[in-house]
Symmetry: C2
Subunit: 186 residues, 2 copies
DNA sequence: CAACCTGGAGAACGATCGTTCTCCGACTGG
DNA sequence: CCAGTCGGAGAACGATCGTTCTCCAGGTTG
């Protein structure tokens, strides 16, 4: 097994385990067992668990950005592209192992202890906000709408996770449409 | 020190430490040092750390319910009572040690490991949702509005925590007002 | 073939943590 | 004053975890 595939297997295994059980609850030995990569090799590739955690989060950040970009750009109508964000969330929340947003969860678990994790989480949410802001601009909506839609999306993520239901994505979508369609000043 | 004050000091110290640093990051010895209650006494009152965690969350649940109830019932106009929820959030987010909602954080940290914690978090959020639903009914808004406002509130909590700014409460308030005022069908 | 390097399995190490135990001082009832 | 109880301080215990080390098999190069 070369370095590239070992690294990929490690990131895959760690990402799944961290998301399912929480970061602190997963020991390095569990990652070794799930990935098939020895501890020695693991520590050659990632000098500490924290390095691995950060790499996992950064990779997930890029993956979600690409996924969401593909999802929203598949629609032509600008308003529909905004609403597509909430359809994306609905599909995500419907997955049987959905446990909330990994970045929100990591912030809750490690935000007090790791400034690096905080920075990665902020970067991810800032990129998400920027994406929404671009869609809002394309739809000729006022810039302030973007922050409101971001709050709806983040709120749907945690509400769905806690309730164990994907419905909040639909409720957030309806709220978003109402915000976009309302004929009153802000 | 009698049992009642020992219990109160324990709950106070544990609540502060858990909220500031996360639950798993706080050892029982740190709680002993902060509360001044010996480990022996602590384990007489709470047979395990998990029991203490649950007691802390349950007490915080009741305190927040009462606080929010007082805050919203201080206004007379039904629509204003709904918006007061977001003013309450703004005050909360402005506190210098704000680190998000303790229930969302606990769910993120322990949701995979402790079914009891999950149930307490669900109960808290259900009570919060019920409170909003009552305000929505009083304001003659359609019942579906309650879920949308809950998502806005939860979203403001996490967005403010990650951004390190109380502004999301204002943005959520503006969104709520727009949802309430819009002259279009749902 | 022989010296060497690589990498795996898993033991070992040191730290931390939840929980319990030991020891001892201080207060109580008679 | 004394036997007995309570509770505190902190050591002890057992488990877990991140990280490193040991030992060894297998392949590579001269």
């Amino acid at each position: 097994m070369d370095h590239t595939t070992a690294e990929a297997r490690l990131l895959d295994a760690a990402d799944t385990l961290f998301y399912d059980r929480g970061i602190q609850a997963v020991g390095m030995d569990a990652i070794r067992a799930a990935s098939g990569v020895s501890l020695k090799r693991t520590y050659q590739l990632f000098p500490s668990k924290e390095h691995l955690v950060e790499a996992v989060l950064r990779r997930r950040d890029l993956a979600i950005r690409a996924e969401l970009e593909a999802y929203t750009s598949a629609r032509t109508n600008p308003t529909e592209r905004i609403l597509a964000v909430f359809d994306y969330l609905y599909e995500w929340f419907g997955q049987p192992d959905y446990r909330g947003c990994a970045f929100i969860n990591s912030f809750a678990e490690l935000g007090a202890a790791s400034e690096n994790v905080v920075e990665i989480v902020r970067t991810h949410k800032r990129a998400f906000a920027d994406h929404i802001a671009a869609l809002v601009a394309d739809a000729d909506q006022p810039p302030a709408r973007a922050g409101q839609l971001l709050i709806l999306a983040n709120g749907a993520m945690v509400t769905a996770a806690i309730a164990g239901s994907p419905e909040p994505a639909r409720e957030a979508r309806a709220a978003a449409r109402r915000l976009l369609d309302a004929d009153v000043p802000d």
